[in-house]
Structure formats: structure tokens, C-alpha cells
């Protein structure tokens, strides 16, 4: 990510840019408030470790692992989830 406004955000990446097997820590959910709330209720709370397991055969959606649960997330949503390196 280039020209990040925050210092600590410099190393942050969008979840959809992680390759399969890569892990990170959820930093922020930059989605609509009700969507962010639901994602958090499903365990995607900032500070939680998240792993991209694989991509679907056509490249979308992604399978992620969070709190021991596997979720399928579309790239359009994953793009708005910022993760920091572990």
C-alpha cells in the first residue's frame, strides 16, 4: 500500500492481497457499520489473528480462518479488511 496516512498503517495491507497461507492480525474493518458489526460478531474483531487459507477455483471468494472457524469471504469485502503483519 503506498502513501498510507498513518505511520503504523504503513505495513497494513488489505486482506485480499494476502496470498494463501499468509497470516496477519486484523487492524481495522473499513466497511459499512452494520457490515462491520456482523463481521465482528462472526469473530473478525480487530486484534484477532486471521489466516488466508485458499482462494476459490475462480479466484473469488477467499477462505479464511479466524478463531478456529473457516469463513468464505468475497474479495469485495476482504478488500475492506485491513491486516497488519504479525
Amino acid at each position: 500500500m503506498n502513501a498510507a496516512p498513518r505511520n503504523d498503517a504503513a505495513a497494513e495491507r488489505a486482506l485480499d492481497t494476502l496470498s494463501s497461507g499468509e497470516r496477519g492480525v486484523i487492524a481495522a474493518l473499513d466497511c459499512e457499520p452494520s457490515v462491520a458489526r456482523r463481521l465482528m460478531e462472526l469473530g473478525l474483531v480487530p486484534g484477532t489473528e486471521i489466516v488466508v487459507i485458499r482462494r476459490a477455483p475462480l479466484g473469488d471468494p477467499l477462505e479464511v480462518s479466524v478463531r478456529g472457524v473457516r469463513l468464505s469471504l468475497r474479495r469485495s469485502e476482504a478488500r475492506r479488511i485491513h491486516v497488519a503483519p504479525r
Binding site: 457499520p33 456482523r38 477455483p57 475462480l58 478456529g68 469463513l71 468464505s72 469471504l73 468475497r74
Partner: protein
């Protein structure tokens, strides 16, 4: 009242996250003593059952829909919230909540559990799948968990039946509700909530406990919570919206403030009660997933598996359907012989018994399809299929979940539409229901076969034949129409905020066969009860239209000739005349008159009144078209050989002009009509049941038939202009 009136059954609700094993537990507790209905006014399914408790007392068990949160994101979750808060008038809050969590995934499953425990209702926490947890080496201090949560905790394995007896024992006892409170609203939000709570009226239908939770719901509502408006006054709702907007400006992220707090609470809780966390146990699922969701062989396996399923639905249901056909015909013959000739016999044999037969022939397809769908769902493969197909279905605004119901509709739209229940987004589900009948079902095949045989020359074009291409084109046309309509619906009547397509991919599990069989039985019975009665009624109405009024000059004249032929011993002539009588009688009937009546409206499509009769009798089932045309052309029963019927269609003439009645172009136009038209009344009956309203089936009928008329018109008139009319 008898002196020893039975005490009211204890009302117990089973609740938990999706994939916690709720339904397996529900089936283990209630077995076959279940009934399925709908919550009033919505399409959410209401499952209840009965079981006996050790003391001899009966329990009415209700299987609430799987939910992730008390702040609802779907109609299912709204129902759960309303039942628990005592706002659902037909379902009073339960005497006891049996909350099921996956013991191997306590972290996420405890989120909703904590919310529900806070409601302060008697609750049992059931740790399901303890066998799997033990196998991983996970060890829990259940007493510590009990102390922390303030509710009894019991470990079971619903699929194996372990611990069910102990659970029944606990379900019999009186459980003190927990007084724990875990909610971590920051003070500023708590103040706002208190104020909102005071705006709610104090009356009997609004329990005190519910007021607080309604205040939370009002504040978090994003306009999707339809149920809310019926529980709270509009001023309070407006007030809440204003406050929410202000909070959005002042403190973005406030909507999720309490979620993180709750997860912290859960982590602390689990640190005390989990003795050994055990291995994650992802190795097996990852090994399977590497094959099943692989870039190349994942889709390949999916295609082969789907092919095998639908081949089985076709092939396995055929003998059963033939058997039902045979039995129904046999019963019809027996009843026919036992009764005197007349209207009542005809009604029973050709109306009622034939109608029951039509209804029953759907059952093998439904049972076999649901057997496979249930195995795929319970094993965890269905979620992978949706994962693989999501991208493709996303192009028309749907999700991967819509693929299998649509695929099923190639066999028959009825089980396909019934299978849309696995689509959690309401708008996606309705869109899928509306486009499912465009998939060419097996009942259209005999019609295509008849018309292609009659009008499409058997010529090779490259390495395929013209009939082959035509058949493919008809299937393809249906798919194109479905895509267009899905697109249109998602942009108009079923438009809505972009839904969040997040789906859990559960671990692979061996399905519980008992559970699978209970589901198959339940789906088949549901079809027979809810749709079967409508299909039977329609069959009787159509029988009436095709049989009355009796007589007519042409019929009487032919009957006289036949009597002469019989007397003179000319059985061949008598037989021919019999078929002519059947044809003349149909022509004279209401259906025949209706065929003539609609002729002006279908003439621009290249059809005459005889095809009009076929269109009308197709309302019972599309393949009836073939036997109707056989009757119209005086051919009698053509079940074994449609060759003469093809010839009759080719050679049919217009009585007035003497010209050919049907050109090949008219044949194509008719096929296009069969692809697009909504003719199957049974489908409409199922749509009515699944959408819980008459609006959708009526819309389907009008939309599909308008589309069919326009398309056939374009084909026939356009084709004539281009010189294909000869």
C-alpha cells in the same frame, strides 16, 4: 375437563449457531414426532416436535433457526430474537432454552450464548460434539464453565447419541436462570440506551426484559429490521435513528463497540475453564479441501458429483414413478369395473385417482433429490459447492447457494424450489425461486422430443445433428431467460442493500443417517400435504373442463356409427370410431371450447385451437400435451409410439383454407413457448407455499407467460419476415 388433566407440556427451545448440530439434537430428541409449519406472515420455517421426559412429563420442543447474534441480520434471526424476547405472539417464550454449542469451537459459539444467557431465562448449555473434542485431546472443566456462566453445562454427542439421556434428565428439572451480565456497553452508549428504553411504552405485551433489548435493536437498526416497527412506536424509532446518526458522526465504530468487549470476556472465561485446548484438528479437512476445492479438479469433481446426483434422480425415480403409474392405473381399472358407468365413475377414475397419481409421481424425485442434498449439506460439501460456484452466480447478483436449487430444477422445478431454503438471503432466495422454472424440466422433454421429431429435419451439421442443436438451444434459451430475469429482479422488485456474502465452511462430518431419513420423510410429507392438495384440486378441475359438457352432435353421430360397426362385427372400424369419439368429445368440452376461444390470441404465434387445447391441458403437467394432441388427432393412446402423432402434426391442415396447419417455424415457436411459459400449476402451488403469499406465484404466472408470448411472437413473425414461414 377430566379430573386427571395432563399438565401442559414443558416448552423447550433448541437454539445455537448454524452448524452447532441443533437439528441432529432435535431429531435425536423428537424422532418422528415432528411437525413443520411457518411463522405467520414470514417464510421462516417453524419446526416443533414432542419428546417424553424421564418424569413422564411431555415436552414440546421447538427447533429455532440457527443464528449468530441477537442483533438480527436475517428474517430467521429476527424470529429468534422475537421468540426469546416474548414478542412473537404465536410462540410464547420457552420455559427452558437448550443452547447448543460446538465444543470444538467454543470461542465463536459462546458469543450468542452470552447474549442469550443475559436475557435471564432458564437455560442449559449443551456442549455438542464432545467425542470430537476428546479425540483432539481437548479437556474442559465443565464445572468452572458452569460457575462462570451461572447455567448448568452438559457435554453430549448428538450424532452418536452420547449424553442424550443425561440431557433429558436435566431438561426435566427446574433450572434457575443466570443472573450474570456480560454486556460491555461503554458508559456513553449505556446512557443513550437508558433514554431510549424510557421512550418505550410500559404495557403488558412488552415484557420488561425485552425493553432493554429492543432499545439496543432500535439503535442498531439499519432499516432492514421489518419486525421492529411492529413492536415499538414510530416516534421512538425516529428518535433512535436521529441518535444513531449523531453517534455515527461523533464516534464512528460505536456500533461494534460492545462486540470486542464480549469476545474479551469469552477469552477470559475460556482461559479458566479449558484445561487443555487440544490440537486444532484441521489436518484432515485441509487434506480433503485440497482435493475438493482444488483449482482444477475441484470444479471437475463438482461437475461429476452433480452429474451423478441428477442422473440418479432421473434413473432411480423412473422405476418408482412407473410403479406408481402402474398402481394408479390398476386401481383406476378396479374402481372402474366396480362402479356403474357415469359421471361419478369418471370423476373418481379420471379426476381424483389420476390427480393423486400425478401428485405421487413427484414424490420419488423429491425424496431422492433431498436424500442427496441432505447428505451433501450435512457432510459439509454443500458449503464447498457454494464456495466453488459463488463467482459464477455472483455475475447475476446471486450467490453460490443458488446454484444447486437451479441445477435441481432441470429435473423438476418443484424439488428445486423446495431446495432454496438453504439460501439465507431472502431476496436471493426469491430471485432463485422466480427463475427456477426457466430451467427445462424433465416434463418438457417429451414435448421437445415430439416437436423436434415432427418439424426438425434429421441432418448433420458439422459433427452434430440439427435435432441435437435444437434441443440444446431450448435448454440454453431457458438459462438465458433465467439470467435476464434474475438481473431484472435484482435491480427492481428485489433490489436491496448489498448483502454481506459471508458463509461458514464447516468441517467435514459423517452425516447422521437417521437425521437424513427424517429430513427426506419430512420434505416428502410436506409436499404431499401442502402442494399435493392443490395439485389434486387442479387435476379435478381440469378433468371437469376436458369432460364437460357431454354430447354434441358430432359425438352422437359417431356413437351411432360405432354402434352399427359393433353390431356388424367390424371391430377395426369400431376401434377407429372410438378414437374419433374421444377426439370429438374433447373438442366439444369446455377445454375444447377454450382452445377455440384463445385461438385469436395464439394465432400470431402460429398455433391453432388444437394446440390451444394442448396448452390448456398442459396446466396439469406439460407432458400431458403429448397425450392431448394424440386425442385431438384421433390417435388414441400413443405412449409407446409417437411416430404417427409426428406425422399427424406435419400433415395437419387448416379446415377452412386446406393449407398446412403447422409450419416448422410454428413448431419452433411452440417449443420456445414451452421453454418460457409458466404452465405447471404444481410449481405455482409450491411457490405459494414457499413464499407464503399469493403475490409471487401470480407474478410468476403473468411474467413468464407474457415473456413466452412475446418470444414466440418474435420467433414466428420474425421468422416469417425472414422467409422461414414456408
Amino acid at each position: 375437563m377430566s379430573p386427571r388433566a395432563e399438565p401442559a407440556p414443558r416448552r423447550i427451545a433448541i437454539l445455537g449457531n448454524p452448524n452447532a448440530g441443533k437439528s441432529t439434537l432435535f431429531n435425536a430428541l423428537t424422532g418422528l414426532r415432528q411437525k413443520v409449519g411457518n411463522y405467520p406472515g414470514v417464510t421462516v420455517e417453524k419446526k416443533t416436535g414432542f419428546c417424553d421426559l424421564p418424569s413422564g412429563r411431555r415436552a414440546e420442543v421447538i427447533d429455532l433457526p440457527g443464528s449468530y447474534s441477537l442483533q438480527p441480520a436475517s428474517p430467521d434471526e429476527m424470529i429468534v430474537r422475537d421468540v426469546l424476547l416474548g414478542l412473537q405472539s404465536d410462540t410464547p417464550p420457552p420455559d427452558l432454552i437448550v443452547f447448543v454449542v460446538d465444543a470444538t469451537n467454543l470461542d465463536r459459539h459462546l458469543y450468542l450464548a452470552l447474549q442469550v444467557i443475559e436475557l435471564g431465562r432458564p437455560l442449559l448449555l449443551v456442549l455438542n460434539m464432545m467425542d470430537l473434542a476428546h479425540a483432539r485431546g481437548q479437556r474442559m472443566d465443565e464445572r468452572a464453565l458452569e460457575r462462570a456462566l451461572g447455567v448448568p453445562v452438559v457435554g453430549i454427542s448428538a450424532a452418536k447419541g452420547d449424553g442424550i439421556a443425561q440431557l433429558r434428565e436435566l431438561m426435566d428439572r427446574d433450572v434457575e436462570p443466570s443472573t450474570r451480565h456480560f454486556r460491555q456497553f461503554p458508559p456513553y452508549l449505556q446512557r443513550v440506551l437508558d433514554r431510549l428504553e424510557h421512550r418505550l411504552p410500559r404495557h403488558a405485551t412488552l415484557p420488561d426484559r425485552a425493553r432493554h433489548d429492543l432499545a439496543v435493536a432500535m439503535l442498531l437498526d439499519n432499516g432492514e429490521d421489518d419486525a421492529l416497527a411492529s413492536h415499538v412506536p414510530p416516534e421512538a424509532l425516529d428518535d433512535a435513528r436521529t441518535v444513531a446518526r449523531r453517534l455515527d458522526e461523533m464516534s464512528p465504530g460505536w456500533r461494534a463497540d460492545d462486540v470486542a468487549g464480549r469476545y474479551e470476556e469469552i477469552s477470559a472465561l475460556l482461559a479458566e475453564s479449558v484445561v487443555a485446548p487440544g490440537e486444532r484438528g484441521d489436518r484432515r479437512r485441509d487434506a480433503i479441501d485440497r482435493v475438493l476445492t482444488h483449482r482444477v479438479h475441484g470444479p471437475l469433481i463438482f461437475v461429476v458429483l452433480m452429474g451423478a446426483v441428477f442422473q440418479s434422480v432421473f434413473a432411480w425415480s423412473l422405476p418408482a414413478m412407473n410403479l406408481i403409474d402402474l398402481a394408479v392405473t390398476r386401481i383406476g381399472t378396479i374402481v372402474g369395473h366396480a362402479m356403474p358407468d357415469g359421471a361419478l365413475r369418471s370423476l373418481l377414475v379420471d379426476g381424483v385417482i389420476a390427480g393423486v397419481g400425478t401428485t405421487l409421481t413427484f414424490v420419488p424425485q423429491i425424496a431422492i433429490l433431498f436424500f442427496f442434498l441432505c447428505v451433501l449439506e450435512d457432510s459439509g460439501y454443500m458449503a464447498r459447492a457454494a464456495f466453488i460456484m459463488d463467482r459464477v452466480m455472483g455475475k447475476v447478483g446471486l450467490s453460490g447457494r443458488s446454484f444447486i436449487p437451479l441445477m435441481s430444477s432441470f429435473a423438476c422445478a418443484i424439488p428445486g424450489i423446495m431446495a432454496t431454503r438453504s439460501i439465507d438471503n431472502r431476496r436471493d432466495r426469491f430471485t432463485t425461486i422466480m427463475i427456477a422454472p426457466f430451467m427445462s424440466c424433465s416434463a418438457r422433454l417429451p414435448v421437445y422430443a415430439l416437436l423436434i421429431g415432427a418439424f426438425v429435419p434429421n441432418r448433420w451439421v458439422g459433427f452434430v445433428t440439427l435435432p441435437g442443436i435444437t434441443l440444446f438451444a431450448m435448454y440454453f434459451l431457458g438459462i438465458v431467460a433465467a439470467v435476464v430475469i434474475a438481473f431484472a429482479l435484482k435491480r427492481t422488485v428485489l433490489r436491496g442493500g448489498r448483502p454481506l456474502y459471508v458463509m461458514e465452511l464447516p468441517p467435514y462430518r459423517m452425516p447422521s443417517w437417521r437425521s437424513v431419513l427424517i429430513t427426506v420423510r419430512e420434505r416428502s410429507l410436506l409436499f404431499l400435504q401442502k402442494a399435493g392438495t392443490v395439485i389434486l384440486a387442479i387435476s379435478v378441475v381440469l378433468w371437469f373442463l376436458a369432460s364437460y359438457p357431454k354430447g354434441g352432435e358430432a359425438v352422437r353421430a359417431l356413437e351411432l356409427q360405432r354402434a352399427v360397426a359393433v353390431v356388424s362385427g367390424d371391430s377395426v372400424q369400431a376401434h377407429t370410431l372410438e378414437r374419433q369419439i374421444a377426439g370429438a368429445a374433447l373438442e366439444h368440452s369446455f377445454a375444447g371450447q377454450a382452445g377455440r376461444f384463445i385461438e385469436p390470441s395464439i394465432a400470431p404465434l402460429g398455433f391453432d385451437w388444437r394446440i390451444g387445447i394442448g396448452l390448456i391441458t398442459s396446466l396439469a403437467a406439460r407432458e400431458v400435451m403429448v397425450s392431448t394432441m394424440a386425442t385431438v388427432f384421433n390417435l388414441g393412446n400413443v405412449d409407446n409410439n409417437v411416430q404417427p402423432l409426428r406425422q399427424s402434426l406435419r400433415e395437419a391442415t387448416d379446415a377452412r383454407t386446406g393449407a398446412r396447419a403447422y409450419t416448422p417455424l410454428a413448431g419452433v415457436s411452440l417449443m420456445v413457448f414451452y421453454v418460457l411459459a409458466c404452465q405447471c400449476m404444481s410449481t405455482l402451488a409450491v411457490v405459494r407455499r414457499e413464499t407464503n403469499s399469493w403475490r409471487w406465484p401470480i407474478f410468476m404466472l403473468v411474467m413468464m407467460n407474457a415473456l413466452a408470448w412475446l418470444a414466440s411472437f418474435a420467433v414466428f413473425q420474425g421468422g416469417k419476415l425472414l422467409g422461414f414461414g414456408a
